[in-house]
Structures are given as structure tokens and as C-alpha cells.
Amino acid sequence: MIDAYLAELRLLLPVRGRRRARILAEVQAHLRDDAALVGDANAVERFGPPRVVASGFASQLVVRNTRRLLELVAALFLVHLVLLVLIALRPWPSHFGAIEYPRRKLVPVDAMLALGRLTPMFTALAIAGLVVAALAARKGAPVRAVAAGALGLAGLAVLPLLVRFGAQTDVDVSAAGTALRLAGELWALAAVSAAVWAIRTLALSRAAARLPG
């Protein structure tokens, strides 16, 4: 009976991997302890229906993911602003010269410039995401608001990449210029990861809504 209970809970939990394994191991240990005193059927009954237990975990995970995503979006936004200011001001001595990135040979300059012309599209995506986030927040949907904000930020993430591509035609090879480009790339990668995380959080939120509270 306990095995059947765990199998059902396993199917209902909206998480995978180590977290699911940990939850199942804890529940199993609890049920075995209780079953030793009151029997399998009573232990399972006292623990509660699998759907209710899964719902409790789903709600807890949605709150956790949303909060972390919110922190990440706030941090990324601040870094983004700092990067934009640094790119605009370049408060260090510039040394322009030939780029030695291997990628310059892989990506033709024409292609970089073509990508650069797509900048308005990414900006539109970013603004759309942030508008959706603001609307969702007004309707009291924090998960959707944070997720849309993260997606919008991912749109903005492409901008530093394009700046970097654009810079390849007029390259600042100073240490600061190189560090800035590297920071921009890392930032873009983090923002895209945030977007993926946002999509996963939305999926988790939908799964949690399908379970009884």
C-alpha cells in the first residue's frame, strides 16, 4: 500500500530529479515509521491524499521559484544598467586595434552588422515582456509578472551581445574593453537562463493550479 501511495505521489509531483527523490525518500521514511505503529492503511490515511500532498509541494515550489526569479531579474536589471552606462561612457583609455577573437573569422562582419539591424526587434520583445509583466502584476498574478519580466529581460540581453558584435568592427582591445565585452556576454547568458527558468516556473505554476489546494 505504501509503495502504491509513493508511486501515485511520484506521478503527481511537479518536480523531477534530486528534489523529487528527496521528497519521496522523506515521505517513505515517514510512512514506514508510522506504519510500524498503526499499520500501512492508517499511516497512509494520516498522511493525507497524494494530490493534496503534491499540491502543498507545488505551491511551495512556485513561491520559491518566483521569489528567486524576482531576485535574479532585479540583479540582472541593475547589471544591465551598469553595462549600458559603461558602454556609453567608456571611462577608460581606449586602445583600438585588430581583434584576435577566433570568432571573428567564424562570423563574417556582414552577418554581425545584419544582426545589429535586428536590435529594434529585441528591444520590442523586451518592452513587450515588461509591459505584460506590469499588467500581470496589476492583476495580482506574481508568477506571470515575474516570468514576463524575465522574458523581457532576455530580449534586452541580446543588446549587449549585439554591441559586442558591433564592436568587432571598431574594437577596443584594452583590458577594460575586453572585460566589458566579456561581462556583457556573461550577463546575456544569465538573462537567457532566467528566461528559461521563467518558462519552467510558469509550467510549475500551471501544474500546481491543476492540483487541489
Binding site: 521528497i23 515517514h30 493534496v52 502543498g56 520559491r64
Partner: protein, 98 residues
Amino acid sequence: LTLLVLAVLAAGPAHGYALIERLRASSDGAFELPEGTLYPLLHRLEDDGLVASRWTQVDGRRRREYRLTQRGRRARADREQAWRSFAAGTERVIAGPA
């Protein structure tokens, strides 16, 4: 429920099952929780940094043991104070004017 769990853990580390037993015993059976609701709460408290956990071996079986962190102790004290204040105020209202 959060305050109850923090208060029970203040007595010492415990795994989920022992925690429920302690809660049941110290409340003279007043709190008969649906036991499955405890674990999502413990995971949330861990995410919030109020408790920490680790796997242990008890009688040859693996169990996840929870303990209060420093932050958890402070949260417990704050919540206890808030609860006492709330309970005292409620008591005065119920008792009516002197």
C-alpha cells in the same frame, strides 16, 4: 503552524515523523495535523533559511533531520512575541470591560 514547528525544533533537531510526535505530545493531542502538510512547510522554512537539514541514519534507516538555524531562532522569538501579544489582546477583548 510555522511558529509551532519552529518551537518544536527549538527543543532540538528532529526528522519529520519525530517532529509530529513531539507536536502531538506537547499539545496533548490538540494538534492532529494531516501529516503530509508538514513536509512542504519544512522545505519552505529551509528555503527561507530558518531551518537546515541533512540525511542521518537512525536504526539503520535514512532520515532527513531538521534543525533550527540562527535565523530560525530569531524568527521563532519574533513570532512568539507577536503571538503572545495577539493572544493577550484577544483575551482582553473576550473578557470584556473590567
